[in-house]
Each structure stands twice: as structure tokens, then as C-alpha cells.
């Protein structure tokens, strides 16, 4: 794996290089600042396969660097592991929201480093598989034989706050139970998603889900949040450090955001989908539910709201 590590301490860069070499990673480059990293990231195209980024750097900190890296088209999905001190908890949240996939705490621990790099490798493999599937789909579309996995995850690279399931699960697993209890997850469900899936070409269906996810993200802009689209027309938002959410205000924000999509749908003479919003779910302090079940429980809540007919529908065009 070709790794680019960014830390403003030369000794730490050297140490990281030594440790990575010990783990069998010999293609490691280190730089001392965000701007230097961006130059390499932009110039070398797809050459960097994993970034390791220190959070506390000057003048550009690690969070800003992640934001810039994610804006480079060929690095929208490259695994990014943050390096942080244990004292950086709030920065870690911001890093995840900006697009980081994982983090390692300083002082560096070899076992942790190894596990995190294995996770990065897994993300790379997952992305490569998704890319293969995408290319396969494009070929199939060319011979008018559309097919894709309705239940499979849709990666929403261009939606604000969107992360992969793997990254969200990773984030949830790393939160302490008390802190996790202060966060909540909300499931959104596109009513009749399967019909849209059957009706549309897979790429258009993914675009539709992406548009709705963007509307969901904007309706939650007042809260630090992450989004995933685990499949079957579901979108799950994790509201970090927000346990008491006003569902009514989210609902009215979302109505407003969905309304802005109307021209795009009417232009192609398409019926606008209805969206249901589930009751927020949280983890219990002593409950049996592990942190990662938050996503599945939020999905179920979103689908239950849909069955109950608790949907946001577009108003008919006058």
C-alpha cells in the first residue's frame, strides 16, 4: 500500500516510517505540512492509496487538509487515518465529519497501527470491488441489461457528511458508551424505493438517492452529523452529541429541502418520492445493543414510519 504520512514533527515522521517498515509497508512518503501533502496528492493522481494525517498541525490543520484531500476527485474515497492525541476528542469528530475513515492515537502503538492499516486495506478492497461493480454495470447498461443490488450500500461521495458504512461503524465502535448515549441516529426511508429502482437505470437510481441524501444532510445542517446509505432506499443520519432532537423541525427543514428538488424532477416528468422519518434511536448505557446496531435500528424505525404512512410527500403542482 502506498502511504503518505503528514506530521509537522520530523522525528515523528521518521518514527512512523520505521514502524510502518516494520509492518511491511515500504512505500511510505512523509511530509511536514498540509500544503506539501496536497501537492503530492494532486500531482501523483491515484498513486497514494492511504493517508495518515496528524490533526494538530500549523498553518493548515489535519481537518482542513482532509477537506482539501476529499475535494480532489481521485481521493474522494482514499482511506484517511488521523493521528491524534487522546486529548483531541472533539477534533476527531470533526475529522470524521470532514471525511476521515479512522484514527490512531499518539503515542503510537504497534498493534493499533497494524489494525488501522488493515482497516484501510479493507476500505481499499471494498472500493476496488465497488469500482469493478460499477464498471460491470456500465457494460451491462450498454447492452440494456440493467442490474444491481437494491439491498447493497450506495456510496455517497459527494454528499455533505456522507461516509461509508464501514467508516460509520468504525466511528461508533470507538465512542465511549456514555458519549454514544448523547448521540442519536435517525432513519429516513424513500417510500416505494424498489419501484424507483426497477424503473430507473442503476446510476440514475443512485443519483436519486444521492439527491435525497443531500436534502437530508442540509436539513440537519444545524447538527454535526454523518450519513450512510445502507441500501433498500434507506438513509441513516448519525447526530453526534445530539440526544434530544426536534423531529418536527427536522421534518419541516427536510420538506423545504425536498421542495427545492422539484424542478429537477418535473423537468423529467417524474413522480417525486415520499420520504418517511423514523423516531430517533439511541444506545442504552447498559443495554445489550452494541453501538453498531444503531444503524440497523434507525433503518427499522425509518421503515416502520413508512409503513405507518408517516411520510413527507411533495405537494401537487398547482
Amino acid at each position: 500500500m502506498r502511504i503518505l504520512a503528514v506530521d509537522d514533527e520530523q522525528i515523528f515522521c521518521d518514527l512512523l516510517k520505521t514502524r510502518l517498515k516494520q509492518l511491511g509497508h515500504t512505500q511510505v512518503k512523509t511530509v511536514l505540512s498540509g500544503p506539501e501533502a496536497l501537492k503530492i496528492a494532486a500531482a501523483e493522481g491515484n498513486a497514494v492509496e492511504c493517508f495518515i494525517v496528524d490533526i494538530q498541525m500549523k498553518p493548515m490543520d489535519g481537518i482542513e487538509l482532509v477537506r482539501h484531500l476529499r475535494a480532489i476527485p481521485h481521493h474522494q474515497a482514499t482511506p484517511i487515518i488521523m493521528l491524534s492525541a487522546l486529548t483531541d476528542k472533539s477534533s476527531i469528530d470533526s475529522a470524521f465529519i470532514s471525511g476521515a475513515n479512522d484514527y490512531i492515537t499518539k503515542p503510537l502503538d504497534m498493534v493499533e497501527l497494524k489494525i488501522r492499516l488493515e482497516m484501510a486495506r479493507k476500505i481499499l478492497d471494498e472500493r476496488a470491488h465497488a469500482q469493478l461493480m460499477h464498471e460491470h454495470l456500465l457494460k451491462q447498461e450498454a447492452i440494456l441489461y440493467p442490474s444491481a443490488d437494491f439491498d447493497g450500500e450506495i456510496l455517497l461521495d459527494e454528499v455533505d457528511g456522507a461516509v461509508s458504512m464501514l467508516s460509520m461503524e468504525n466511528f461508533l465502535l470507538k465512542q465511549g458508551s456514555i458519549r454514544l448515549r448523547q448521540s442519536s441516529a435517525i432513519g429516513f426511508h424513500m417510500v416505494g424505493a424498489e419501484t424507483y429502482f426497477e424503473m430507473l437505470e442503476p446510476t440514475y437510481y443512485a443519483t436519486l438517492i444521492g439527491d435525497i441524501a443531500q436534502a437530508v444532510s442540509q436539513s440537519l445542517s444545524a447538527f454535526p452529523h454523518m450519513l450512510v446509505c445502507p441500501g433498500s432506499g434507506d438513509i441513516v443520519a448519525l447526530l453526534i452529541d445530539e440526544s434530544n432532537v426536534d423531529l418536527q423541525s427536522i421534518r419541516s427543514n427536510l420538506e423545504h429541502q425536498l421542495e427545492t428538488l422539484r424542478p429537477r424532477f418535473t423537468a423529467v416528468d417524474m413522480t417525486l418520492p415520499e420520504i418517511s422519518i423514523g423516531e430517533p434511536v439511541r444506545t442504552g448505557l447498559f443495554g445489550k445493543n452494541g453501538p453498531t446496531t444503531l444503524v440497523s435500528r434507525a433503518r427499522r424505525a425509518g421503515q416502520a414510519a413508512s409503513r405507518a404512512g408517516n411520510n413527507i410527500s411533495f405537494r401537487a403542482v398547482a
Binding site: E9, I11, F12, L15, T18, L83, T87, P107, L108
Partner: protein
């Protein structure tokens, strides 16, 4: 010893050697870090603005020392620097109460003493 085992031992030896070199480099660089902290420490009691600037420097230096020292196996230095950073981050903004300033000064001094001990390791 088999060929593979001999190679592993040699690799391990090379890693240890590299780490020892990095520890030496770290200790050599301690003089500059000590100077920066010492300069900031002097500004601690010079009004709200001077104190804020000094605390920023102390916190940043402690942060960097804690990350590097801990990772190089100098746990006591790493832990003390981390505790100092945590305490500085938890301080209220503005001028420090006299008792708190004196307490912090002692804490900084303890870290400086420890750093100076390692300076002699070089």
C-alpha cells in the same frame, strides 16, 4: 538458527537501531524545546494577553513532546507532557488566579527538570 529466523532477528536489530537513533535525535532537540517552554513560562504572569500567548506555546510544546516521547518509549516524559497539556487546555481564559499560576509554574518546572535529565542522555 534458520535463515528466516536470522533475517527476523536482523530486521528487529535494524528497527531497534533506528529507534535508538531517533531517541538520540529527540534528546538532542530537547534544548530548543526547553528554551521555548522556559521563555513562555516567564510570560505566564504578564497579564491576560501575555498569559494566553504563553499558555498556547506551553500547550503546543507539551502536545508535541507527548506524542513523540511516548512513541519513542520515553513514557514518563510523554505522560507528564500529556498531563500538562490537558491541564493547560482546561484552564479558564484570561489572567490566571495567583494560586493557579503558581501551581502551573511548578508543573512546568517539573517537566523542564525531566526534559533536562534526558538532555543528559544524549
Amino acid at each position: 538458527m534458520s535463515g528466516a529466523a536470522a533475517k527476523t532477528t536482523a530486521d528487529q536489530g535494524a528497527v531497534e537501531q533506528a529507534l535508538a537513533g531517533l531517541r538520540r535525535d529527540f534528546c538532542r532537540g530537547l534544548e530548543e524545546r526547553i528554551c521555548r517552554i522556559e521563555t513562555a513560562r516567564v510570560s505566564l504572569g504578564t497579564g491576560a494577553q501575555g498569559t494566553a500567548g504563553a499558555l498556547n506555546v506551553i500547550s503546543a510544546e507539551a502536545h508535541r513532546i507527548s506524542g513523540v516521547a511516548g512513541s519513542l518509549g520515553l513514557a514518563s516524559v510523554g505522560n507528564m507532557a500529556r498531563d500538562l497539556e490537558t491541564d493547560v487546555e482546561g484552564l479558564p481564559k484570561g489572567a490566571l488566579p495567583v494560586a493557579r499560576a503558581a501551581e502551573l509554574d511548578k508543573q512546568v518546572e517539573r517537566l523542564l527538570d525531566l526534559l533536562e535529565e534526558h538532555l543528559e542522555d544524549d
